[in-house]
Amino acid sequence: MFIRVDNYRYRLPASYKKGMKIDGMVYADAELLKQIEGDQTREQIANVATLPGLVGKSLAMPDAHQGYGFCIGGVAAADLNDGVVSAGGVGFDINCGVRLLAVDADPEDVRKNLEALLNQIFRDVPCGTGRKGSVDLGGKEIDAVLTDGARWAVQHKYGLEKDLARIEEFGCLPGADPKKVSGRAKERGHQQLGTLGSGNHFVEIQSVEDLFDDTTAHAFGVHKGQIVVLIHSGSRGLGHQVCTDYLDLMDGSMKKYGISVVDRQLACVPIASREGEDYLHAMAASANFAFANRQMMTYWVREAFRRVVGTGNIQVVYDVCHNIAKTEEHLVDGRRKTVLVHRKGATRAFPKGHPVLPGDLRDVGQPVLIPGSMGTESYILVGTDRAMEETFGSSCHGAGRAMSRTKAKRETSAEELLADMKRKGILVRGQSKSGLTEEKPDAYKDVNKVVEVIHGAGIARKVARLVPLAVMKG
Protein backbone atom coordinates (compact mmCIF):
# COMPACT_ATOMS: atom_id res chain seq x y z
CA MET A 1 0.00 0.00 0.00
CA PHE A 2 1.03 3.60 -0.44
CA ILE A 3 2.77 5.29 2.47
CA ARG A 4 2.21 9.02 2.85
CA VAL A 5 5.48 10.97 2.72
CA ASP A 6 4.02 14.48 2.72
CA ASN A 7 1.06 16.36 1.25
CA TYR A 8 2.15 15.57 -2.31
CA ARG A 9 4.09 12.33 -2.17
CA TYR A 10 3.09 8.72 -1.52
CA ARG A 11 5.68 5.95 -1.56
CA LEU A 12 5.02 2.40 -2.70
CA PRO A 13 7.70 0.31 -0.94
CA ALA A 14 9.50 -2.42 -2.86
CA SER A 15 8.06 -4.88 -0.35
CA TYR A 16 4.58 -4.25 -1.77
CA LYS A 17 4.91 -6.85 -4.50
CA LYS A 18 7.19 -9.80 -5.09
CA GLY A 19 9.83 -8.97 -7.68
CA MET A 20 9.88 -5.20 -7.16
CA LYS A 21 13.52 -4.09 -7.28
CA ILE A 22 12.92 -0.43 -6.47
CA ASP A 23 10.31 1.65 -4.66
CA GLY A 24 7.45 3.38 -6.37
CA MET A 25 6.46 7.00 -5.78
CA VAL A 26 3.25 8.79 -6.70
CA TYR A 27 2.90 12.56 -6.73
CA ALA A 28 -0.65 13.26 -5.63
CA ASP A 29 -2.79 14.83 -2.94
CA ALA A 30 -5.26 12.72 -0.97
CA GLU A 31 -8.07 13.27 -3.47
CA LEU A 32 -6.02 12.48 -6.57
CA LEU A 33 -4.55 9.45 -4.84
CA LYS A 34 -8.08 8.18 -4.27
CA GLN A 35 -8.74 8.48 -8.01
CA ILE A 36 -5.44 6.78 -8.79
CA GLU A 37 -6.38 3.94 -6.42
CA GLY A 38 -9.60 3.47 -8.39
CA ASP A 39 -7.94 1.57 -11.23
CA GLN A 40 -4.87 -0.60 -11.87
CA THR A 41 -2.32 2.25 -11.68
CA ARG A 42 -0.77 1.03 -8.42
CA GLU A 43 -0.20 -2.46 -9.83
CA GLN A 44 1.32 -0.97 -12.96
CA ILE A 45 3.73 1.20 -10.94
CA ALA A 46 4.72 -1.96 -9.04
CA ASN A 47 5.05 -3.99 -12.25
CA VAL A 48 7.41 -1.42 -13.77
CA ALA A 49 9.52 -1.62 -10.59
CA THR A 50 10.17 -5.31 -11.38
CA LEU A 51 12.01 -4.52 -14.65
CA PRO A 52 15.77 -5.17 -14.70
CA GLY A 53 18.30 -2.40 -14.23
CA LEU A 54 16.04 0.48 -13.21
CA VAL A 55 17.48 3.19 -10.98
CA GLY A 56 15.79 5.58 -8.57
CA LYS A 57 12.05 4.97 -8.25
CA SER A 58 9.16 3.87 -10.45
CA LEU A 59 7.39 7.23 -10.62
CA ALA A 60 3.83 8.31 -11.33
CA MET A 61 2.69 11.87 -11.84
CA PRO A 62 -0.59 13.29 -10.42
CA ASP A 63 -2.35 12.79 -13.76
CA ALA A 64 -1.53 9.07 -13.65
CA HIS A 65 -4.12 6.51 -14.63
CA GLN A 66 -4.20 2.94 -15.83
CA GLY A 67 -2.49 2.35 -19.14
CA TYR A 68 -1.22 -0.93 -20.55
CA GLY A 69 2.06 -2.19 -19.13
CA PHE A 70 3.26 1.18 -17.82
CA CYS A 71 0.64 3.48 -16.32
CA ILE A 72 0.00 6.70 -18.20
CA GLY A 73 1.88 9.39 -16.30
CA GLY A 74 4.75 7.03 -15.53
CA VAL A 75 8.48 7.73 -15.45
CA ALA A 76 11.23 5.11 -15.14
CA ALA A 77 14.98 5.43 -15.70
CA ALA A 78 17.22 2.55 -16.70
CA ASP A 79 20.98 2.12 -16.27
CA LEU A 80 22.61 2.13 -19.72
CA ASN A 81 24.81 -0.85 -18.88
CA ASP A 82 22.45 -3.32 -17.27
CA GLY A 83 19.06 -1.71 -17.77
CA VAL A 84 16.33 -2.35 -20.30
CA VAL A 85 14.37 -0.38 -22.86
CA SER A 86 10.68 -1.10 -23.19
CA ALA A 87 8.74 -0.10 -26.31
CA GLY A 88 5.58 -0.16 -24.22
CA GLY A 89 7.29 2.21 -21.76
CA VAL A 90 7.29 4.84 -24.48
CA GLY A 91 3.90 3.91 -25.87
CA PHE A 92 2.40 3.50 -29.31
CA ASP A 93 2.17 7.22 -30.04
CA ILE A 94 5.92 7.88 -29.99
CA ASN A 95 6.62 11.56 -29.29
CA CYS A 96 3.02 12.42 -28.77
CA GLY A 97 3.46 15.93 -27.48
CA VAL A 98 2.23 19.50 -27.33
CA ARG A 99 3.34 22.71 -28.95
CA LEU A 100 2.32 26.20 -27.83
CA LEU A 101 2.25 29.13 -30.25
CA ALA A 102 2.05 32.79 -29.19
CA VAL A 103 0.11 35.02 -31.59
CA ASP A 104 1.22 38.58 -32.20
CA ALA A 105 -2.20 40.05 -32.97
CA ASP A 106 -4.79 42.22 -31.26
CA PRO A 107 -6.79 39.74 -29.15
CA GLU A 108 -10.00 41.58 -30.07
CA ASP A 109 -9.34 41.00 -33.78
CA VAL A 110 -8.94 37.29 -33.08
CA ARG A 111 -12.05 37.08 -30.89
CA LYS A 112 -14.14 38.89 -33.55
CA ASN A 113 -13.01 36.41 -36.20
CA LEU A 114 -12.88 33.33 -34.03
CA GLU A 115 -15.43 31.24 -35.89
CA ALA A 116 -13.90 31.97 -39.29
CA LEU A 117 -10.48 31.20 -37.86
CA LEU A 118 -11.55 27.88 -36.40
CA ASN A 119 -13.25 26.92 -39.66
CA GLN A 120 -10.13 27.82 -41.61
CA ILE A 121 -7.91 25.69 -39.35
CA PHE A 122 -10.47 22.87 -39.61
CA ARG A 123 -10.25 23.08 -43.40
CA ASP A 124 -6.45 23.24 -43.53
CA VAL A 125 -5.36 20.76 -40.84
CA PRO A 126 -6.69 17.29 -41.73
CA CYS A 127 -8.16 15.60 -38.68
CA GLY A 128 -10.09 12.50 -37.74
CA THR A 129 -9.60 8.96 -38.89
CA GLY A 130 -8.56 8.17 -42.45
CA ARG A 131 -7.71 11.78 -43.46
CA LYS A 132 -4.58 12.31 -45.53
CA GLY A 133 -2.19 15.22 -45.40
CA SER A 134 -1.50 17.49 -48.34
CA VAL A 135 2.10 16.24 -48.57
CA ASP A 136 2.80 12.74 -49.87
CA LEU A 137 6.25 11.62 -48.75
CA GLY A 138 6.97 9.38 -51.71
CA GLY A 139 10.26 7.58 -52.35
CA LYS A 140 13.13 8.54 -50.06
CA GLU A 141 11.52 11.77 -48.84
CA ILE A 142 10.06 10.06 -45.80
CA ASP A 143 13.58 9.00 -44.79
CA ALA A 144 14.63 12.65 -44.84
CA VAL A 145 11.75 13.52 -42.48
CA LEU A 146 12.71 10.66 -40.16
CA THR A 147 16.33 11.81 -40.12
CA ASP A 148 15.86 15.58 -39.86
CA GLY A 149 12.55 16.03 -38.01
CA ALA A 150 11.25 19.58 -37.79
CA ARG A 151 14.33 20.81 -39.69
CA TRP A 152 13.01 18.98 -42.78
CA ALA A 153 9.79 21.00 -42.54
CA VAL A 154 11.69 24.29 -42.06
CA GLN A 155 13.94 23.49 -45.05
CA HIS A 156 10.79 22.93 -47.11
CA LYS A 157 9.43 26.38 -46.12
CA TYR A 158 6.99 25.06 -43.49
CA GLY A 159 8.47 27.18 -40.74
CA LEU A 160 11.22 29.48 -39.57
CA GLU A 161 14.77 28.64 -38.51
CA LYS A 162 14.11 30.25 -35.12
CA ASP A 163 11.23 27.80 -34.49
CA LEU A 164 13.77 25.00 -34.04
CA ALA A 165 15.37 26.51 -30.93
CA ARG A 166 11.99 26.33 -29.22
CA ILE A 167 11.49 22.60 -29.71
CA GLU A 168 12.72 19.89 -27.36
CA GLU A 169 15.91 18.44 -28.91
CA PHE A 170 15.72 21.31 -31.42
CA GLY A 171 13.12 19.26 -33.29
CA CYS A 172 15.49 16.42 -34.14
CA LEU A 173 16.27 13.54 -31.82
CA PRO A 174 19.78 12.25 -32.57
CA GLY A 175 20.38 8.64 -33.54
CA ALA A 176 17.43 8.33 -35.90
CA ASP A 177 17.90 5.61 -38.50
CA PRO A 178 15.17 5.28 -41.15
CA LYS A 179 16.49 1.82 -42.05
CA LYS A 180 15.27 0.59 -38.68
CA VAL A 181 11.70 1.72 -39.48
CA SER A 182 9.68 -0.95 -41.30
CA GLY A 183 8.14 -0.52 -44.71
CA ARG A 184 4.75 -0.98 -43.06
CA ALA A 185 5.36 1.93 -40.71
CA LYS A 186 6.39 4.13 -43.63
CA GLU A 187 3.28 3.06 -45.55
CA ARG A 188 1.12 4.10 -42.61
CA GLY A 189 2.92 7.43 -42.28
CA HIS A 190 3.75 8.67 -45.75
CA GLN A 191 0.43 10.48 -46.29
CA GLN A 192 -0.12 11.49 -42.66
CA LEU A 193 2.44 14.25 -42.17
CA GLY A 194 0.67 17.42 -41.05
CA THR A 195 -2.44 15.61 -39.83
CA LEU A 196 -3.88 15.83 -36.34
CA GLY A 197 -5.32 12.34 -35.89
CA SER A 198 -8.25 11.56 -33.62
CA GLY A 199 -8.81 10.61 -29.99
CA ASN A 200 -7.55 13.24 -27.56
CA HIS A 201 -5.59 15.21 -30.17
CA PHE A 202 -6.60 18.81 -30.74
CA VAL A 203 -5.77 22.32 -31.88
CA GLU A 204 -7.06 24.88 -29.38
CA ILE A 205 -7.12 28.68 -29.56
CA GLN A 206 -6.68 30.06 -26.05
CA SER A 207 -6.25 33.29 -24.12
CA VAL A 208 -3.59 33.87 -21.45
CA GLU A 209 -5.78 34.45 -18.40
CA ASP A 210 -3.33 34.69 -15.47
CA LEU A 211 0.39 35.08 -15.00
CA PHE A 212 1.92 33.58 -11.85
CA ASP A 213 5.49 34.53 -12.75
CA ASP A 214 5.69 37.61 -14.99
CA THR A 215 9.44 37.44 -15.53
CA THR A 216 9.45 33.85 -16.70
CA ALA A 217 6.31 34.33 -18.80
CA HIS A 218 7.89 37.29 -20.58
CA ALA A 219 11.05 35.28 -21.18
CA PHE A 220 8.84 32.64 -22.80
CA GLY A 221 7.27 35.37 -24.99
CA VAL A 222 3.87 35.23 -23.28
CA HIS A 223 1.86 38.09 -21.79
CA LYS A 224 -1.52 38.47 -20.14
CA GLY A 225 -4.49 38.64 -22.51
CA GLN A 226 -2.45 37.29 -25.41
CA ILE A 227 -3.90 34.77 -27.86
CA VAL A 228 -2.06 31.46 -27.96
CA VAL A 229 -2.62 28.19 -29.83
CA LEU A 230 -1.97 24.74 -28.38
CA ILE A 231 -1.41 21.77 -30.70
CA HIS A 232 -1.55 18.19 -29.35
CA SER A 233 -0.56 15.39 -31.72
CA GLY A 234 2.11 12.74 -32.29
CA SER A 235 3.75 10.45 -34.81
CA ARG A 236 0.49 9.11 -36.28
CA GLY A 237 0.34 5.66 -37.87
CA LEU A 238 4.09 5.59 -38.43
CA GLY A 239 4.91 5.71 -34.72
CA HIS A 240 2.08 3.34 -33.85
CA GLN A 241 3.45 0.74 -36.27
CA VAL A 242 7.04 1.18 -35.03
CA CYS A 243 5.91 0.43 -31.50
CA THR A 244 3.84 -2.54 -32.72
CA ASP A 245 6.83 -3.93 -34.65
CA TYR A 246 9.31 -3.58 -31.77
CA LEU A 247 6.90 -4.78 -29.10
CA ASP A 248 6.58 -7.93 -31.17
CA LEU A 249 10.37 -8.17 -31.54
CA MET A 250 11.00 -7.56 -27.83
CA ASP A 251 8.33 -10.08 -26.86
CA GLY A 252 10.16 -12.71 -28.88
CA SER A 253 13.66 -11.69 -27.73
CA MET A 254 13.29 -11.61 -23.94
CA LYS A 255 13.90 -15.32 -23.51
CA LYS A 256 17.40 -15.19 -24.97
CA TYR A 257 18.31 -12.41 -22.52
CA GLY A 258 16.80 -14.29 -19.58
CA ILE A 259 14.14 -11.63 -19.02
CA SER A 260 10.60 -12.41 -17.94
CA VAL A 261 7.92 -9.79 -17.27
CA VAL A 262 4.76 -9.83 -15.21
CA ASP A 263 2.73 -8.16 -17.98
CA ARG A 264 3.54 -8.92 -21.61
CA GLN A 265 3.00 -5.28 -22.57
CA LEU A 266 6.15 -4.55 -20.51
CA ALA A 267 8.23 -6.55 -23.02
CA CYS A 268 11.79 -5.19 -22.95
CA VAL A 269 15.36 -5.94 -23.99
CA PRO A 270 18.74 -4.73 -22.72
CA ILE A 271 19.55 -1.20 -23.90
CA ALA A 272 22.94 -2.53 -24.93
CA SER A 273 21.53 -5.20 -27.25
CA ARG A 274 21.03 -5.20 -31.01
CA GLU A 275 17.23 -5.18 -30.54
CA GLY A 276 17.45 -2.37 -27.97
CA GLU A 277 19.68 -0.23 -30.16
CA ASP A 278 17.50 -0.86 -33.22
CA TYR A 279 14.41 0.18 -31.29
CA LEU A 280 16.03 3.41 -30.08
CA HIS A 281 17.10 4.27 -33.65
CA ALA A 282 13.54 3.64 -34.90
CA MET A 283 12.01 5.47 -31.93
CA ALA A 284 14.17 8.54 -32.64
CA ALA A 285 13.06 8.43 -36.29
CA SER A 286 9.42 8.28 -35.20
CA ALA A 287 9.98 11.13 -32.76
CA ASN A 288 11.37 13.19 -35.63
CA PHE A 289 8.27 12.42 -37.70
CA ALA A 290 6.17 13.78 -34.82
CA PHE A 291 8.30 16.95 -34.55
CA ALA A 292 7.86 17.51 -38.30
CA ASN A 293 4.14 16.77 -37.96
CA ARG A 294 3.60 19.50 -35.37
CA GLN A 295 5.80 21.85 -37.42
CA MET A 296 3.58 21.31 -40.48
CA MET A 297 0.47 22.01 -38.45
CA THR A 298 2.13 25.18 -37.13
CA TYR A 299 2.50 26.28 -40.76
CA TRP A 300 -1.21 25.72 -41.45
CA VAL A 301 -2.17 27.59 -38.28
CA ARG A 302 0.04 30.52 -39.29
CA GLU A 303 -1.53 30.54 -42.74
CA ALA A 304 -5.05 30.46 -41.25
CA PHE A 305 -4.27 33.47 -39.03
CA ARG A 306 -2.69 35.29 -41.97
CA ARG A 307 -5.78 34.71 -44.10
CA VAL A 308 -8.44 35.46 -41.48
CA VAL A 309 -6.84 37.95 -39.07
CA GLY A 310 -4.15 39.41 -41.32
CA THR A 311 -1.12 38.32 -39.34
CA GLY A 312 0.94 35.19 -39.46
CA ASN A 313 3.41 36.55 -36.93
CA ILE A 314 3.26 33.62 -34.53
CA GLN A 315 6.15 32.47 -32.34
CA VAL A 316 6.73 28.95 -31.09
CA VAL A 317 6.76 29.17 -27.28
CA TYR A 318 7.88 25.56 -26.93
CA ASP A 319 7.24 22.01 -28.11
CA VAL A 320 7.52 19.08 -25.69
CA CYS A 321 7.42 15.30 -26.04
CA HIS A 322 5.38 13.37 -23.53
CA ASN A 323 5.83 9.80 -24.85
CA ILE A 324 9.53 9.20 -25.25
CA ALA A 325 12.71 7.56 -23.96
CA LYS A 326 15.71 9.89 -23.65
CA THR A 327 19.35 9.33 -22.81
CA GLU A 328 20.12 11.93 -20.15
CA GLU A 329 22.55 12.65 -17.31
CA HIS A 330 21.09 12.60 -13.81
CA LEU A 331 22.26 12.35 -10.24
CA VAL A 332 21.56 8.85 -8.96
CA ASP A 333 22.38 8.20 -5.31
CA GLY A 334 24.61 11.26 -5.36
CA ARG A 335 26.56 10.19 -8.44
CA ARG A 336 26.25 11.56 -11.97
CA LYS A 337 24.99 8.84 -14.26
CA THR A 338 23.77 8.56 -17.83
CA VAL A 339 20.40 6.81 -17.89
CA LEU A 340 17.57 6.11 -20.31
CA VAL A 341 14.49 7.93 -19.00
CA HIS A 342 11.16 6.48 -20.15
CA ARG A 343 8.43 9.14 -20.05
CA LYS A 344 5.06 7.56 -20.74
CA GLY A 345 2.64 10.44 -20.47
CA ALA A 346 5.14 12.68 -18.70
CA THR A 347 6.93 15.87 -19.72
CA ARG A 348 10.58 16.80 -19.43
CA ALA A 349 10.94 19.67 -16.93
CA PHE A 350 14.55 20.88 -16.98
CA PRO A 351 15.50 23.85 -14.77
CA LYS A 352 17.36 27.04 -15.58
CA GLY A 353 21.02 26.50 -16.19
CA HIS A 354 20.56 23.09 -17.78
CA PRO A 355 23.13 22.75 -20.58
CA VAL A 356 20.77 21.24 -23.16
CA LEU A 357 18.49 24.29 -23.18
CA PRO A 358 19.05 27.04 -25.76
CA GLY A 359 20.69 30.23 -24.48
CA ASP A 360 17.58 32.31 -23.73
CA LEU A 361 15.77 29.46 -21.97
CA ARG A 362 18.88 28.50 -20.03
CA ASP A 363 18.38 31.72 -18.04
CA VAL A 364 14.85 30.79 -16.94
CA GLY A 365 14.26 27.07 -17.43
CA GLN A 366 12.33 24.90 -19.84
CA PRO A 367 8.65 25.62 -20.55
CA VAL A 368 6.46 22.69 -19.46
CA LEU A 369 3.13 22.62 -21.31
CA ILE A 370 0.14 21.03 -19.59
CA PRO A 371 -3.05 20.82 -21.63
CA GLY A 372 -6.32 20.53 -19.72
CA SER A 373 -9.36 18.67 -20.94
CA MET A 374 -11.72 20.15 -23.54
CA GLY A 375 -13.29 23.33 -22.18
CA THR A 376 -10.94 23.67 -19.21
CA GLU A 377 -7.73 25.51 -18.46
CA SER A 378 -4.27 24.65 -19.67
CA TYR A 379 -1.02 25.68 -17.99
CA ILE A 380 2.49 26.78 -18.75
CA LEU A 381 4.93 25.68 -16.06
CA VAL A 382 8.70 25.87 -15.85
CA GLY A 383 11.17 23.13 -14.91
CA THR A 384 12.90 23.10 -11.52
CA ASP A 385 16.00 21.79 -9.75
CA ARG A 386 13.70 19.71 -7.56
CA ALA A 387 12.54 17.79 -10.65
CA MET A 388 16.18 17.00 -11.43
CA GLU A 389 16.67 15.74 -7.88
CA GLU A 390 13.52 13.62 -7.67
CA THR A 391 11.88 12.79 -11.01
CA PHE A 392 14.70 12.61 -13.55
CA GLY A 393 13.65 16.10 -14.63
CA SER A 394 10.04 15.12 -15.30
CA SER A 395 6.59 16.49 -14.65
CA CYS A 396 2.98 15.64 -15.57
CA HIS A 397 1.54 15.81 -19.10
CA GLY A 398 -2.12 16.78 -18.75
CA ALA A 399 -5.21 16.29 -16.66
CA GLY A 400 -5.32 12.51 -16.98
CA ARG A 401 -8.43 10.51 -17.77
CA ALA A 402 -10.82 9.77 -14.92
CA MET A 403 -13.58 8.04 -16.87
CA SER A 404 -13.60 5.44 -19.65
CA ARG A 405 -14.60 6.48 -23.15
CA THR A 406 -17.60 4.16 -23.03
CA LYS A 407 -18.88 5.71 -19.81
CA ALA A 408 -18.28 9.22 -21.12
CA LYS A 409 -20.39 8.46 -24.19
CA ARG A 410 -23.08 6.81 -22.08
CA GLU A 411 -23.39 9.77 -19.73
CA THR A 412 -23.47 12.70 -22.15
CA SER A 413 -24.76 13.20 -25.69
CA ALA A 414 -22.83 15.21 -28.24
CA GLU A 415 -25.69 17.73 -28.28
CA GLU A 416 -25.49 18.23 -24.50
CA LEU A 417 -21.75 18.64 -24.68
CA LEU A 418 -21.90 21.18 -27.50
CA ALA A 419 -24.62 23.13 -25.64
CA ASP A 420 -22.42 23.17 -22.53
CA MET A 421 -19.43 24.43 -24.53
CA LYS A 422 -21.63 27.10 -26.13
CA ARG A 423 -22.80 28.26 -22.66
CA LYS A 424 -19.14 28.64 -21.71
CA GLY A 425 -18.54 30.61 -24.92
CA ILE A 426 -16.19 27.99 -26.40
CA LEU A 427 -16.44 27.17 -30.10
CA VAL A 428 -15.99 23.49 -31.01
CA ARG A 429 -15.39 21.72 -34.31
CA GLY A 430 -14.88 17.97 -34.45
CA GLN A 431 -14.80 15.32 -37.11
CA SER A 432 -16.87 12.88 -35.06
CA LYS A 433 -19.66 13.48 -32.51
CA SER A 434 -18.85 10.31 -30.62
CA GLY A 435 -15.19 11.38 -30.51
CA LEU A 436 -16.26 14.66 -28.92
CA THR A 437 -18.25 13.09 -26.09
CA GLU A 438 -15.37 10.75 -25.26
CA GLU A 439 -13.34 13.87 -24.56
CA LYS A 440 -15.89 15.69 -22.41
CA PRO A 441 -14.31 17.73 -19.61
CA ASP A 442 -15.45 15.59 -16.69
CA ALA A 443 -14.02 12.46 -18.32
CA TYR A 444 -10.72 13.90 -17.05
CA LYS A 445 -9.34 14.84 -13.67
CA ASP A 446 -9.34 18.49 -12.61
CA VAL A 447 -6.21 19.91 -14.27
CA ASN A 448 -6.06 22.67 -11.63
CA LYS A 449 -5.61 20.07 -8.89
CA VAL A 450 -3.03 18.15 -10.93
CA VAL A 451 -1.01 21.33 -11.47
CA GLU A 452 -1.33 22.35 -7.80
CA VAL A 453 0.30 19.05 -6.81
CA ILE A 454 3.13 19.54 -9.31
CA HIS A 455 3.66 23.12 -8.10
CA GLY A 456 3.30 22.18 -4.43
CA ALA A 457 5.74 19.30 -4.77
CA GLY A 458 8.13 21.65 -6.53
CA ILE A 459 8.73 19.44 -9.59
CA ALA A 460 7.67 22.32 -11.85
CA ARG A 461 6.45 25.84 -11.11
CA LYS A 462 3.34 27.64 -12.38
CA VAL A 463 3.94 30.39 -14.92
CA ALA A 464 0.63 31.02 -16.70
CA ARG A 465 -2.94 29.80 -16.92
CA LEU A 466 -4.62 29.62 -20.31
CA VAL A 467 -8.36 29.46 -21.01
CA PRO A 468 -9.95 27.98 -24.15
CA LEU A 469 -11.76 30.05 -26.75
CA ALA A 470 -12.13 27.60 -29.63
CA VAL A 471 -11.14 23.99 -30.10
CA MET A 472 -10.80 21.62 -33.02
CA LYS A 473 -10.89 17.96 -31.99
CA GLY A 474 -9.66 15.14 -34.15
Binding site: D39, H65, Q66, G67, Y68, G69, I72, G88, G91, F92, D93, G128, T129, G130, R131, R184, E187, R188, G197, S198, G199, G237, H240, Q241, C243, T244, L247, D248, D251, G252, D263, R264, Q265, A267, R401, A402, M403, S404, R405, T406, K407, S432, S434, G435, G474
Partner: protein, 140 residues
Amino acid sequence: MVLAGVRFLDHPSDIGIEARGVSCAEAFSRAAAAFVSLILDPSSVDATEQRAIVLHATDVEQLLVRWLSEILYLYDGCGYVSKEFRISICTPTHLEATIVGEPIQLEKHAVRMDIKAVTYHQLAVWQDADGWGVRVYLDI
Protein backbone atom coordinates in the same frame (compact mmCIF):
# COMPACT_ATOMS: atom_id res chain seq x y z
CA MET B 1 -23.16 -1.71 -31.33
CA VAL B 2 -24.44 -5.25 -30.85
CA LEU B 3 -22.40 -7.99 -32.48
CA ALA B 4 -22.97 -11.72 -31.93
CA GLY B 5 -20.61 -13.18 -29.34
CA VAL B 6 -18.89 -9.85 -28.66
CA ARG B 7 -18.61 -7.65 -25.58
CA PHE B 8 -16.77 -4.33 -25.45
CA LEU B 9 -14.73 -3.86 -22.28
CA ASP B 10 -14.23 -0.63 -20.35
CA HIS B 11 -10.72 0.66 -19.72
CA PRO B 12 -9.85 4.03 -18.13
CA SER B 13 -8.33 5.35 -21.34
CA ASP B 14 -8.89 2.76 -24.01
CA ILE B 15 -11.25 -0.04 -24.96
CA GLY B 16 -11.19 -3.81 -25.00
CA ILE B 17 -12.92 -6.56 -26.95
CA GLU B 18 -14.04 -9.92 -25.62
CA ALA B 19 -15.25 -12.30 -28.31
CA ARG B 20 -16.52 -15.86 -28.04
CA GLY B 21 -17.09 -18.60 -30.58
CA VAL B 22 -17.61 -22.31 -30.90
CA SER B 23 -14.09 -22.52 -32.34
CA CYS B 24 -10.91 -20.48 -32.06
CA ALA B 25 -11.48 -19.40 -35.68
CA GLU B 26 -14.95 -18.09 -34.89
CA ALA B 27 -13.75 -16.18 -31.82
CA PHE B 28 -10.92 -14.62 -33.88
CA SER B 29 -13.35 -13.78 -36.69
CA ARG B 30 -15.79 -12.12 -34.30
CA ALA B 31 -12.96 -10.17 -32.63
CA ALA B 32 -11.99 -8.88 -36.07
CA ALA B 33 -15.57 -7.83 -36.85
CA ALA B 34 -15.75 -6.00 -33.50
CA PHE B 35 -12.37 -4.37 -34.16
CA VAL B 36 -13.48 -2.99 -37.55
CA SER B 37 -16.82 -1.83 -36.10
CA LEU B 38 -14.89 0.52 -33.79
CA ILE B 39 -13.11 2.12 -36.76
CA LEU B 40 -16.18 2.54 -38.97
CA ASP B 41 -19.73 1.41 -39.58
CA PRO B 42 -19.36 -2.04 -41.22
CA SER B 43 -22.76 -1.68 -42.91
CA SER B 44 -21.24 1.08 -45.07
CA VAL B 45 -18.66 -1.37 -46.48
CA ASP B 46 -19.28 -3.57 -49.53
CA ALA B 47 -17.54 -6.92 -49.84
CA THR B 48 -15.98 -6.55 -53.28
CA GLU B 49 -12.24 -7.27 -52.88
CA GLN B 50 -10.53 -10.23 -51.29
CA ARG B 51 -7.21 -10.36 -49.46
CA ALA B 52 -5.43 -13.53 -48.38
CA ILE B 53 -3.72 -13.50 -44.98
CA VAL B 54 -1.19 -16.02 -43.68
CA LEU B 55 0.24 -15.49 -40.19
CA HIS B 56 2.59 -17.36 -37.90
CA ALA B 57 3.24 -16.70 -34.21
CA THR B 58 4.95 -18.20 -31.20
CA ASP B 59 1.68 -18.67 -29.31
CA VAL B 60 -2.03 -18.14 -29.74
CA GLU B 61 -2.08 -14.80 -27.87
CA GLN B 62 0.58 -13.37 -30.15
CA LEU B 63 -1.39 -14.77 -33.10
CA LEU B 64 -4.41 -12.72 -31.98
CA VAL B 65 -2.32 -9.54 -31.74
CA ARG B 66 -0.81 -10.17 -35.19
CA TRP B 67 -4.24 -10.94 -36.68
CA LEU B 68 -5.82 -7.68 -35.54
CA SER B 69 -2.61 -5.72 -36.27
CA GLU B 70 -2.77 -7.04 -39.85
CA ILE B 71 -6.32 -5.74 -40.27
CA LEU B 72 -5.23 -2.38 -38.84
CA TYR B 73 -2.25 -2.21 -41.19
CA LEU B 74 -4.49 -2.96 -44.19
CA TYR B 75 -6.75 -0.08 -43.12
CA ASP B 76 -4.18 2.54 -42.09
CA GLY B 77 -1.32 1.57 -44.40
CA CYS B 78 -3.15 0.29 -47.49
CA GLY B 79 -6.50 2.11 -47.31
CA TYR B 80 -8.44 -1.17 -47.33
CA VAL B 81 -11.46 -1.72 -45.08
CA SER B 82 -12.47 -5.27 -44.28
CA LYS B 83 -15.96 -6.57 -43.60
CA GLU B 84 -15.95 -10.38 -43.74
CA PHE B 85 -13.38 -12.67 -42.13
CA ARG B 86 -13.23 -16.26 -43.37
CA ILE B 87 -10.64 -18.12 -41.33
CA SER B 88 -9.74 -21.49 -42.86
CA ILE B 89 -6.87 -22.49 -40.54
CA CYS B 90 -6.49 -21.38 -36.92
CA THR B 91 -4.01 -23.35 -34.84
CA PRO B 92 -2.24 -21.83 -31.80
CA THR B 93 0.64 -20.66 -34.01
CA HIS B 94 -0.76 -20.42 -37.54
CA LEU B 95 -3.68 -18.65 -39.16
CA GLU B 96 -4.87 -18.53 -42.75
CA ALA B 97 -7.80 -16.40 -43.78
CA THR B 98 -9.51 -14.65 -46.63
CA ILE B 99 -10.89 -11.26 -45.74
CA VAL B 100 -13.32 -9.39 -47.94
CA GLY B 101 -13.90 -5.65 -48.10
CA GLU B 102 -13.05 -2.72 -50.35
CA PRO B 103 -10.74 0.31 -50.65
CA ILE B 104 -11.65 3.09 -48.23
CA GLN B 105 -13.76 5.95 -49.53
CA LEU B 106 -14.27 8.64 -46.90
CA GLU B 107 -17.38 9.94 -48.64
CA LYS B 108 -18.95 6.47 -48.45
CA HIS B 109 -17.65 4.84 -45.29
CA ALA B 110 -18.89 6.15 -41.97
CA VAL B 111 -15.60 6.36 -40.07
CA ARG B 112 -15.72 6.50 -36.29
CA MET B 113 -12.29 6.55 -34.69
CA ASP B 114 -8.62 5.80 -35.10
CA ILE B 115 -7.23 2.73 -33.42
CA LYS B 116 -3.52 3.22 -32.80
CA ALA B 117 -2.55 -0.34 -32.01
CA VAL B 118 -3.35 -3.71 -30.49
CA THR B 119 -1.83 -4.22 -27.04
CA TYR B 120 -0.64 -7.22 -25.01
CA HIS B 121 -2.32 -5.78 -21.91
CA GLN B 122 -4.43 -8.47 -20.18
CA LEU B 123 -4.39 -10.36 -23.46
CA ALA B 124 -6.05 -13.78 -23.26
CA VAL B 125 -7.21 -16.64 -25.45
CA TRP B 126 -8.94 -19.53 -23.70
CA GLN B 127 -11.06 -22.60 -24.22
CA ASP B 128 -13.81 -23.63 -21.82
CA ALA B 129 -17.01 -25.67 -21.79
CA ASP B 130 -18.78 -23.03 -23.91
CA GLY B 131 -16.14 -22.94 -26.65
CA TRP B 132 -13.37 -20.37 -27.23
CA GLY B 133 -12.88 -16.87 -25.92
CA VAL B 134 -10.47 -14.03 -26.65
CA ARG B 135 -9.80 -10.77 -24.80
CA VAL B 136 -7.71 -7.93 -26.16
CA TYR B 137 -7.27 -4.23 -25.36
CA LEU B 138 -6.68 -1.56 -27.98
CA ASP B 139 -4.85 1.74 -27.80
CA ILE B 140 -7.09 4.50 -29.17
